[in-house]
Amino acid sequence: MSDPLLEAEGVIAEYPVGEGLLRRGTGVVRAVDGVSLTVRRGETLGIVGESGCGKSTLARTLLRLEEPAAGTIRFDGEPVCGLDGAALKRFRRRAQMTFQDPRSSFDPRRSVGESVAEPLRIHGLTGRSSRRSVVGGVLERVGLDAGAADRYPHELSGGQLQRAALARALVLNPDLLVADEPVSALDVSVQAGVLRLLEDLRTELGLSVVVISHDLGAVREVCDRVAVMYLGELVEVGPTETLFEDPAHPYTRALVSAVPSATEHGRRERVRLTGEVPDPADPPPGCRFHPRCPEVVEPEGYAFAEGVWRSLLDLVVRAEAGRLTPESVAASIARQRVADGNDEPTPLGRRPPGTDGESVDPAGIGPAGIDPADVADDIAAADVDTAVRAAHGLPSPLSDPDAEAVLADALARVADGDAEGARSRLARSFTTPCRERPPRSIAVSEGHVASCHLIPSDGDGDENEGTGPE
C-alpha cells in the first residue's frame, strides 16, 4: 500500500445545532468522529452505512467541500486543509464529486452541454470552440451520444442524467471521483449499467473512485474495498468479498444479513437489531453500537442463558435513559389488568391472538381511562417485578443467583419509587466492556480491520488507539 492517493487521519466533522428561530448555537453534532482511511490509487472504495451515519458528510469533508473540525487529509502527499488560491483550485480539478439526485444537480435552464462544459470554463481550459468537441467526447465516453449536449435535463431519463453527471465530473480528467449514492435514484434496470460504467471508467482512466451508498448490493458490485460506518465512526474496513462473506463486526453482519436477495428466495436467517439508531448529538459511551448489538459482550462473573444478557442490557439502557420509573411500570401494569379482563376492555376490533401484553415492547403502556399516576400509588412490589420481567422477556428467577439478586433489588427500588437507585444498581452491576471503553481497531486479516471487543487482539499490537480502522 505504497503512497495512497488520499489519506485521512482522525477526521472530525461537526455541525452546530441550535434551537429557536435564530438557531443560536447550543452545541455541536459530530457527524464524523475520528475517521481514518485511505484511498489507494486505482481502487474503488465503498463507504456504506444507514442514513444519518455520516457517510455523505465524510465524503464532502474529504473533498474539503466542508472544513473538518480536526484531523488531517492528504491528497497525493499534500495536506488538503492548508490549500488556498491556485493550489486549492488545482486540488478541486483533481478531485471531483457526483451527487445523489442527478435531476437536482443540473440547471434546468441550461443544456446538458453547457453544464458539462462549465468546469472547463471555470478552470480556463480549452477555448470556446474546442470545448464542444471535448464535451462531445466525454459524453460519448459515458455512453451518451454527443447530440445529448444540445438537450435539456428534462429531456433525459434519470439514468442518462446520471451519466451526464459523471461526464461533468470527468471532463477535467480528475484523479479521484467521489460518487454519492450513484444509483439509488435510478430504476433497477438501469442501475447495473451505471455501475458497470463506473467500473470501466476506473480501469480505463486509472481513476480512484469512492462510492458512498446505503445499497450493499451496488457496493458489492463495484468496490474493491468497503468501509462500514456507524454513527460517525468506521467500524470495519476490508476487501469487499471478505467483508460480505466473513464480516468481523456484528453491525456489518446485521447490515449484510438485512439485504433482501432474490436469488436466495425464502426466509433467510437474519440478524435482528433492537432499538433505533441513537441520537448522534449524544452517542452512547464505549462502542456506539452496544445498545443495539446482538452479540454484546457478557460481563464476567455471571452465567446467563441464551439471549438473557441482551434483554437485561436493554433494561439497563432503559434505566439509563430515565425510562424505568414507577410511572412507566404502572402504565404497563394497568395495561396488563385490561388484558386480563379486570377492567373495561379496549373497544373495537378483533384482538390479535397472542399479542395481548406480550407484543413487541409493552413497556410503559397505559390505556386511556386509567391514569398511571393513580396506579403508581398502589402497585405492589411483586407486580412491578412481574411486569418488568414480562416486558423484557426476563425469566423469574434468572438462572444466575448473583444477577437475580441485583435485578430483584433494583426492581424493589422501582416499586419504592427510587428510580435513581434502581438505575445506579443496574448500571453498576451489569456492565460490559462494550459500554466501558471504545473498541480499538484490530487487524482481523491482511487489509481487514474491525473495531469490536469480540475480536481477540494479539497483545498490544495496534497503537492506533482512539482512531478508526486503518
Binding site: 444507514e50 451496488a218 432474490a262 390479535p352 390505556p367
Partner: protein, 356 residues
Amino acid sequence: MTSDRTTSDPLLEVDDLRVAFHTDAGLVRAVDGVSFSVGRGETTCLVGESGSGKSVTAEAITRLTPSPPGEIDGGTVRFDGEDVTRATDSRLRELRGNRIAHVFQDPASALNPVYTVGAQIREAIRAHRDVGKRAARARAIDLLDATGIPEPATRVDDYPHEFSGGMKQRVCIAIALACDPDLLIADEPTSALDATVEAGILDLFAELRAAFGTSLLFITHDLGVASRIADRVVVLYAGRVMESGPASAVFDRPAHPYTRALLACRPGVPGGSRPIPGSLPDPVDPPDGCRFAERCPHAIAACRDGEHPARHRVGDDDHHVSCIHYEGNEGTELGPPPGEGAAWPAWSTRAGGRDE
C-alpha cells in the same frame, strides 16, 4: 367478513383493468388489461420498474385515480364479491380506510405535521366507528403497540417530526389498521427506508398478517423485497402482466424473459449484474405485440405483431406467462436465448448497457 361468499373465493379480483391518462402528448394507457387476484390472508406482490403501471393499478382499486386526467376505462375490480368500479361515492367512502386501507411510499408526506400521531389515528377510527374519544385513544395506543412503537402510551401524543423514518412508517401502518381492514394496499412502503429498517417493516407486515389475517397487496420494484414477503407475484411491464404465479415458482423458475432480465440486473447478484438494454416503450404509442420485444434477447418477428401474447401455463401450479415462446409448449420451460453464445455476451456488455 360480512359476505356470505365462501372463503375460498379470492378477496380481491382484478379483471382486465384499464386506466388511461389524458396528457398533452396524447392518451397514455398506463394500465392496459391487467388481471390478478389476492386470496384471503394472502400476500400478493406487484413488481415492475417505474412506469410499469403498478402504482396506478393500486390506486385504481379504491378509485383513488385522479380524474381528470385519469380515467378507469375498462375492466372490473371485485372486492369480496362487490364490483368496486361501479360503487357509488358514498359506498367507496365506506370501504376506504375501513375495509381497504392504503400505506404509501413516503411516510413523511403521508402524515400531517400539525397533528399528533394519536389524533391522526383517532381520526381514522372515528371516520368509520361510532366510538368515544377515550376509547379511540385507547385503540390508538394499542395500534402503536401492535406496530412496534416502544412506549406507545407516551408516543401517542408526539408529532410526526418526533419519529424516525421507520417509526413514521409504523405510524402509517397503525393508521391503516385502525379499522381492521380486510385488505391492506402498501405501495413501496419500504423504498424510502434503510435496509435494516426495511427488514423490520417487512417483519411487521408478516407478523400483522399472521395476527390479523389481513390480506396484503404489496407494490415494489425490488425483487429482493418481493421474495421475502410474497405468496404470489405479478410481474408488470408497460401496463401489462408478463408473468404471475406463486412466489417460489416465479423466483426459482422465472419464465418470462423480462422476469429473468429483472432478476439478472440487480446489483450484487453472483457473477455480476446485467443491465436491461433499451428503455420502456413510448407510453403514448406502444408497439404491437409484446411490449418487451424491443429489449428482449428472445424476440422474433412474430413477437412484434398483433395483440399482447396470450397467457400460457408453465409447470404444474398456477404459474402463467404471457410470451409467444410458450405457445403450444405449456408445461415446458424456455431455454437460454437463441444463439446463447452470441446473444448473452452482447446483451451484457457495455455496448448494450446504454439506457437511452
